[in-house]
């Protein structure tokens, strides 16, 4: 790894590092150790895939794609080796979202509602909330634009119902 390459990689990644944290937090909200493991997995996949990033899409779109692929694959792997203990220890790189969520009930409820969604629905709502448009969401997930829009309606309804039920 050359110093120039590493500097360029770190600059691009650090500009969008919140994407990695949000994906980790959305998919693994309760287990700090697993979140850290997935964070490292994503960083490793980004590092490996970076030479193939040709700037055909926005860097943030590409980063979302790599992060979501890794998180979803990790869920598959963790069904083989389930963790029994629920850990809440904060991780070095992650913003301390838990503390703020305690203070802000609405935010906490939204995260709790998102946690109830299926894997791909989590990805869709996360991308939508991160201001990705339908075409970008379709490109990242491999779904059609129509499919994304139909799913988003359904997801929003499910989230709203969850929040209303738990108010």
């Amino acid at each position: 790894m050359s110093a120039e390459w590493e500097t360029s990689f770190l600059a691009d990644v650090n500009q969008n590092i919140r994407i990695v944290h949000r994906v980790c937090h959305t998919y693994f909200p309760r287990d700090a150790m697993e979140r850290e493991e997935v964070f490292q997995d994503i960083m490793y996949q980004l590092w490996k895939s970076y030479p193939r990033f040709k700037g055909e899409s926005k860097f943030s779109t590409w980063m979302h794609k790599v992060a979501l692929n890794t998180a979803i694959t990790h869920i598959r792997r963790s069904t083989r080796e389930p963790r029994s203990a629920e850990l809440t220890e904060p991780i070095d790189h992650a913003p301390d979202m838990n503390e703020h969520m305690h203070r802000e009930e609405e935010v906490r409820q939204l995260y709790a509602a998102i946690e109830t969604l299926m894997g791909i629905d989590k990805a869709i709502i996360l991308l939508h909330l991160e201001d990705q448009d339908y075409d970008e969401i379709a490109a990242i997930t491999g779904l059609t634009r129509t499919n994304v829009s139909v799913r988003l309606v359904r997801i929003r309804r499910a989230l709203k119902e969850y929040v209303e039920r738990n108010q």
Partner: protein, 208 residues
């Protein structure tokens, strides 16, 4: 939550509350890359060793017996035939393991697959290997059990196979049975459960 754009508003509110995440430094990156490379290697080597160790035992047993009974044509032929039956299975296994752990999407210039293609590719590779493994188990387990029972009875049991037909059959059946129980547990953990999970993901992606 407020009625209009409530989800987006709450999300933005949450973003505003977030602390600034620490940037990843070159040192962090080096540590992450080293640990992941070690982990990948460990995962691959664990699987390869688990699959090959049984065959190493079998080959060692045959080779030792072959050398020890040099001159006894019947024993030598038995060992040679056993090894010859098993070599194609070993070669096929090594090839399939390389395919399973290979990364076809990482060829220079190839794009990062979308989530659907990624899950689909992973499902196809795992299902293909599982299919091969099932075929290999159906052939490999009876063959290896038969080789071991044949050689063991010929060498160490008075009267050999001829004098102990029922006994050798019982030992063979028990050995095959135990192997099948172990294989079933391994298949469930390493293949059936992960494939079911990937199937659910694919179904979810296909039928919305």
């Amino acid at each position: 939550m407020a009625p209009s754009n409530e989800i987006e508003n709450v999300w933005k509110e949450g973003k505003a509350l977030e602390a600034e995440p620490a940037p990843v430094t070159g040192k962090d990156l080096q540590a992450i890359v080293s640990s992941r490379v070690r982990k990948e290697f460990k995962t691959v080597s664990e699987f390869v060793w688990a699959a090959i160790v049984y065959q190493i035992i079998l080959y060692s047993f045959l080779t030792r017996t072959f050398i020890q009974h040099w001159g006894d044509v019947q024993i030598m032929l038995l060992c040679f035939a056993g090894g010859a039956c098993y070599i194609p299975l070993t070669v096929a296994l090594v090839r399939r393991i390389r395919t399973l752990f290979g990364r076809p999407s990482e060829a220079p210039g190839s794009p990062v697959p979308d989530v659907f293609r990624k899950v689909e590719g992973e499902y196809a590779r795992l299902a293909d290997f599982f299919q091969f493994k099932k075929r290999m188990d159906w052939i490999g387990v009876p063959v290896s059990c038969a080789i071991i029972v044949l050689v063991t009875f010929t060498l160490f049991v008075k009267g050999g196979i001829e004098g102990n037909r029922l006994g050798s059959l019982v030992v063979f059946a028990v050995w095959v049975g135990l192997s099948l129980v172990a294989i079933h547990a391994e298949n469930k953990k390493r293949f059936i459960s992960p494939l079911r999970h990937l199937e659910l993901l694919l179904d979810d992606l296909k039928h919305s």
